[in-house]
């Protein structure tokens, strides 16, 4: 078989490539409405072009005839799929049931049947012969009645598509008009090329220009796709989004007259759209006048929270006004978006009220604690003061004056001496409790005065050992200091950190009967770690956290004779955490406990310097 290569092939080959890439493009976006049918239409175009190429390459009559017939397979697919695509693209595909689609394909099937049986009845082509076009062999056919019926049917389908697109074009917002005009132009090109062939007014009547027309059409479509993202925002989707969204959308013209609104907006304004269109916004939306007066420049995006009376209960809306500009930046109108934020607002209010109530309660508690502590101090002054004075008077005045050796009197004197001491020490314990409660309540309320300055942990440990020297002596325990050299200074409240170390050492002494208490200070990364290690009774693992809780003393309170306030460790925890450190305990029952805390190393100058005051305090 001999093949010929004519210049007529060039447009057809180009068509094929354009169609292939378009089909790929559409298939990749197959979830978009219409993309599948568009791809089929384009594949039909491609089949048509390929058949056309093969027809023009063939030189023998039978081959030409065969490919000329094959071409029509593509033609039929194009027109039907094109109509389906348009309907889906503009969101009017409701009538495209399986039955209707089958009906649409009926005529093409009949046409194809007639074409392939043409030799028997010549209804499609009345004659077919080989002619010479320049140096090339071409197929010349004369159209029969079946061909014209087939062509009219195709034109009807394509015209229906054009009509649908035109209608959509007329009722679409400006944004989509360019897309639609692209699609319209494309369809018209295909139709025009086809008319040239059918009416045989073309310079080469044997050469069917329709595929070229559709290739041009496809290119215009491609341009539309890339330029306007045909399948990314299809009008159908836009329509659905706007109609179904919860937010109210109002479109205004440049003079603030209502042009369009969605169902949510109708609900909020409590009026059907038709009754309100064309009216100035201030008439339908009373809050508008006030808003407009607050905002001189309404051309830029404007947001506000407004309250609309809605059958008595006010509802809150987040309002956004944005200009709608045409591509040249000219103001076309405005878009007003109202989002119902009533629930959010109510939650906010409830939350704020709860917070205020909690703050008030906390404040009341703080005030109560403060006032109770003040009221307790005065009687405690008498209790402790008189007990001390009585003991002193007894020792200084009464005991020397006693002349009797009666053991009963001696015993009474000893008992009184000890009883006075008990009154004093219990009174002091109460004082400490009051101080602790007050401290804790203030730390929790964030109201404690912190006196922050440069501190040296080894110095703090020295001070704490000095303050606890007498109780070490009482219990005959050894005090061991194990402090790493060259520890950097950091920043903190000297007095309160000393309180922490004293507290840990006192606790260690309290629960240790023999051995040593070690205070070790080390640097670990950016922290100074202080350990207070005892050889006392220890703490069970499940109680590790409890010891840092308020008013909890671990162990059997009857046999262990609690001597503290139950607030020492909770306060230590608060103080350490205020400094950005951590406090914890590790222990083994019967072997001893290690209480540790960390302090971050902060360069000097980052903290505020210690306040100094000229007036001295004589309290301990």
């Amino acid at each position: 078989m001999q093949l010929q290569f004519s210049p007529f092939l060039i447009p057809l080959v180009l068509c094929t490539f354009v169609a292939a890439s378009l089909a790929l493009f559409a298939l990749r976006r197959r979830t978009a409405p219409g993309a599948i049918s568009f791809a089929f239409a384009i594949l039909g175009e491609m089949a048509w072009s390929v058949a056309n190429i093969l027809q023009w390459m063939s030189t023998d009559f039978a081959g030409e005839l065969f490919w000329a017939r094959a071409r029509f397979l593509g033609t039929e697919i194009i027109s039907v799929c094109y109509l389906i695509f348009v309907a889906q693209y503009i969101g009017q595909a409701g009538w495209l049931t399986r039955r209707n689609i089958t009906l649409l394909f009926m005529m093409p099937v009949i046409s194809l049947a007639l074409l392939w049986t043409n030799d028997w009845h010549h209804l499609f082509w009345t004659s077919a012969s080989q002619v010479k076009v320049g140096a090339y062999v071409a197929l010349d056919v004369h159209f029969g009645p079946a061909f014209f019926v087939h062509t009219l049917y195709d034109y009807a389908l394509i015209s229906t598509g054009l009509l649908l697109l035109t209608l959509e074009f007329l009722r679409s917002p400006r944004l989509y008009r360019r897309q639609l005009s692209g699609a319209l132009l494309a369809a018209s090109l295909g139709l025009a090329a086809s008319l040239l062939y059918v009416t045989r007014v073309s310079p080469v009547p044997e050469y069917d220009l329709t595929p070229v027309g559709f290739a041009l059409a496809g290119s215009v479509w491609a341009w539309t796709f890339f330029r306007f993202k045909l399948f990314d925002i299809v009008p159908a989707a836009r329509e659905l989004v706007v109609q179904n969204m919860d937010d109210a959308l109002l479109v205004l013209d440049e003079r603030y007259r209502l042009v369009d609104l969605n169902p949510s907006a109708e609900r909020i304004l409590n009026h059907p759209a038709a009754a309100r269109l064309g009216q100035p916004l201030r008439d339908i939306f009373p809050a508008w006048a006030e808003l407009a007066s607050h905002s001189p420049n309404l051309n830029s995006l404007h947001t506000a929270e407004i309250q609309l009376p809605d059958s008595g209960t006010p509802r809150y809306f987040d309002l956004r006004l944005s200009p709608i500009l045409d591509p040249s930046g000219r103001l076309n109108g405005r878009m007003l978006l109202l989002r119902d934020i009533t629930q959010q607002k109510e939650n906010e209010i409830a939350l704020r009220e709860a917070k205020e109530a909690a703050e008030a309660a906390s404040k009341a508690k703080g005030a109560f604690v403060a006032s109770v502590s003040h009221e307790l101090r005065t009687p405690l002054t008498s209790v402790i003061g008189f007990a001390k004075l009585n003991k002193k008077r007894m020792e200084d005045v009464i005991v020397p004056a006693l002349t009797t050796d009666s053991p009963k009197v001696q015993r009474a004197v000893n008992q009184m001496r000890e009883n006075f001491d008990i009154i004093v020490s219990e009174g002091e314990r109460l004082t400490k409790l009051i101080n602790n409660v007050l401290d804790l309540s203030k730390i929790e309320a964030g109201k404690l005065d912190w006196r922050t300055g440069p501190i040296s942990v080894p110095q703090i440990v020295d001070q704490a050992f000095a303050s606890t020297a007498s109780i070490f002596l009482q219990k005959q325990l050894e005090a061991i200091k194990d402090i790493a050299p060259d520890l950097p200074d950091t920043v903190g409240d000297q007095d309160r950190l000393e309180e922490v170390v004293i507290n840990l050492i006192s606790n260690a002494i309290k629960f240790t009967d023999r051995g040593a208490i070690t205070c070790r200070v080390r640097r670990e990364d950016n922290f100074i770690v202080t350990n207070v290690i005892d050889q006392g009774i220890g703490i069970a693992k499940e109680d590790y956290d409890k010891v840092f809780q308020e008013f909890v003393q671990v162990g059997d309170t009857l046999t262990d004779k609690p001597q503290g306030t139950g607030l020492g460790l909770p306060i230590c925890k608060q103080i350490v955490e205020h400094h950005g450190g951590r406090i914890w305990v590790e222990s083994e029952l019967g072997k001893g406990s290690t209480f540790s805390f960390t302090l971050p190393i902060i360069a000097e100058g980052n903290g505020t310097t210690t306040q100094t005051t000229a007036m001295a305090s004589a309290t301990n």
Binding site: R377, T378, T381, S382, K392, N435, T613, A618
Partner: protein, 125 residues
């Protein structure tokens, strides 16, 4: 000339406690006076011109700050050493104390022996 100490507190027990704590100074001829509210305290201070005053802060009529301010600034009695007694603990308003010219403050409950030692120091006994 015998030294004079003035104790101003609306609580009788506290006046009694402070008096008893300082009792032995009377052996050296020191005179101990008391007043039961701020106004009476100011009057007594004006008349007796004490060397040392123990002044409660929370009192009816005139509080300790006001009395202290009147004595130090209005009467110009800079030589009277004034110790404020406060039940406020750490809440004590130091700035206010400084402003009114107090020399020292002591937090309740205080130690009678410490009171006595401070008095001896101030009076040079």
């Amino acid at each position: 000339v015998a030294a004079k100490i003035l104790i101003v507190d609306d609580e009788a027990h506290i006046r009694r406690l402070v008096s008893q704590a300082l009792e032995e100074l009377e052996d050296d001829g020191t005179e101990i006076l008391t007043a039961e509210d701020g106004a009476a305290g100011l009057q007594a201070a004006k008349e007796a011109k004490p060397n040392l005053m123990f002044l409660d802060v929370m009192m009816p009529k005139m509080n300790g700050f006001e009395v202290c301010n009147a004595i130090k600034h209005e009467l110009g009695m800079k030589d009277t050493y004034i110790i404020l007694l406060t039940a406020k603990g750490q809440d004590f308003d130091r700035t206010r104390g400084e402003e009114v010219g107090a020399d020292l403050y002591m937090t309740k409950p205080f130690d009678p022996d410490e009171l006595l030692a401070k008095a001896r120091e101030v009076l040079g006994l």
